[in-house]
Subunit: 206 residues, 2 copies
DNA sequence: TACTGTGAAGTAGTTCACAGCT
DNA sequence: AGCTGTGAACTACTTCACAGTA
């Protein structure tokens, strides 16, 4: 039996489908079509059908997709039927804002540990979390089984801290530092950098 | 004379090249090659050469690229040789963290106006900015010539506020709200949503 | 020698268009 | 009648490989 590898670009669209479908679900919409979903998020209907067909046959000819069923399927595909623990590393303004953001918990992500290297911050509480010494990451992260980290440290130390995280067993990093991380190929990194996004947009402005 | 349109995917990589090159510049590196730059950011050398060739011939055979010159060229291509004014809309935790972030100013982006609709927040100062009533956006944004907005309002009002911004003359929106905005085709939108990124990564974890 | 810039080749991604089902 | 799922066609993107040049 051959297990076809799904292109990463397809995987990257699934969360957007899920977001739109959850919104429909909250609105009480029971059924949708690839057409309607596509219009909601600006993607062609054929694209959506093709993407979903990589994982199974979720629709019904003539009627489309059950919103609730497709939400379930996407959650299952994306492994969202469990709670994911997160480590938050770097408790500056951004780290603090993320600690307080309710969206993580609402989507099954639980910030379980927060770290900083500043003695002034260590021991302080933010949103129910006690900030811990980043020198303890190697011990605490494996003991809590945390696999995902959000990195909100200054660019100057981001590479070093990222390596420590990998050493502590982290497999995926959401990188807020404005620098490219160089890590082993089996570590998944996603970057969030507003400057990069703004510079992309200015190209089109005058 | 035909002006070839550069693919958006190429434009999107230019800021990453620029980021790495500015880093090299600060490190005192005078010259680099497509090979070296590619290794720094995990992109093939051929890709970088092809991308740059869309805009001109910036390298020298045998020696590679002058870091300072290529930084200048990329800044020029991306229209970064001027200050861009930004409107910050929504002064919750995230809006506050962005208001205090030094990175914008360091890269030629100046947050010139901050808005919220909460009477408790209006008139307060954050990082040298007075928070203004969002009902004033239509008047203030054109008067300051602001073309770019960062949207950090709750998802429930994001679409409505985005439409008001477009109405006020905004041409590009950096959208932090966890929702797809539906706006005219000539408005550039970039989304920053940590949940979407995390859900992308969980696919690969177990 | 060491690199760029670039056609050509190769690979990946998207859209078309329609059979088939409800 | 209305929609999905999917091969086939098409388009876009990336890599190869090498002529050209400092």
């Amino acid at each position: 039996m051959i297990t076809r590898t799904v292109p990463d670009i397809v995987v990257g669209r699934l969360p957007r489908y899920l977001q739109a479908l959850e919104h429909m679900y909250r609105e009480g919409i029971k059924t949708t079509s690839s057409q309607e979903l596509g219009e909601a998020i600006g993607i062609s209907a054929a694209q959506i059908r093709k993407d979903l067909s990589q994982f199974g046959e979720f629709g019904k000819q003539g009627t489309g997709y059950s919103v609730a069923f497709l939400v379930e399927q996407l959650q299952s595909i994306l492994k969202l039927t469990r709670i994911w623990d997160l480590a938050l590393v770097g408790m500056g303004d951004l780290g603090n804002a993320l600690a307080r953001y309710q969206g993580f918990a609402e989507h099954g992500f639980r910030i379980t540990a927060a770290f900083d290297n500043d003695p002034e911050k260590i021991g302080k509480e933010v949103a129910g979390l006690i900030i811990q010494d980043s020198r303890e990451m190697k011990r605490i992260i494996p003991s809590l089984g945390i696999k995902i980290a959000m990195l909100t440290v200054p660019a100057s130390v981001a590479q070093m801290v990222a390596e420590e995280l990998v050493d502590a067993g982290i497999r995926a990093i959401l990188n807020y530092a404005p620098i490219s991380l160089n890590l082993p190929d089996d570590i998944h990194v996603e970057n969030i950098d507003p400057i990069i996004k703004l510079q992309h947009m200015t190209y089109y402005l005058d």
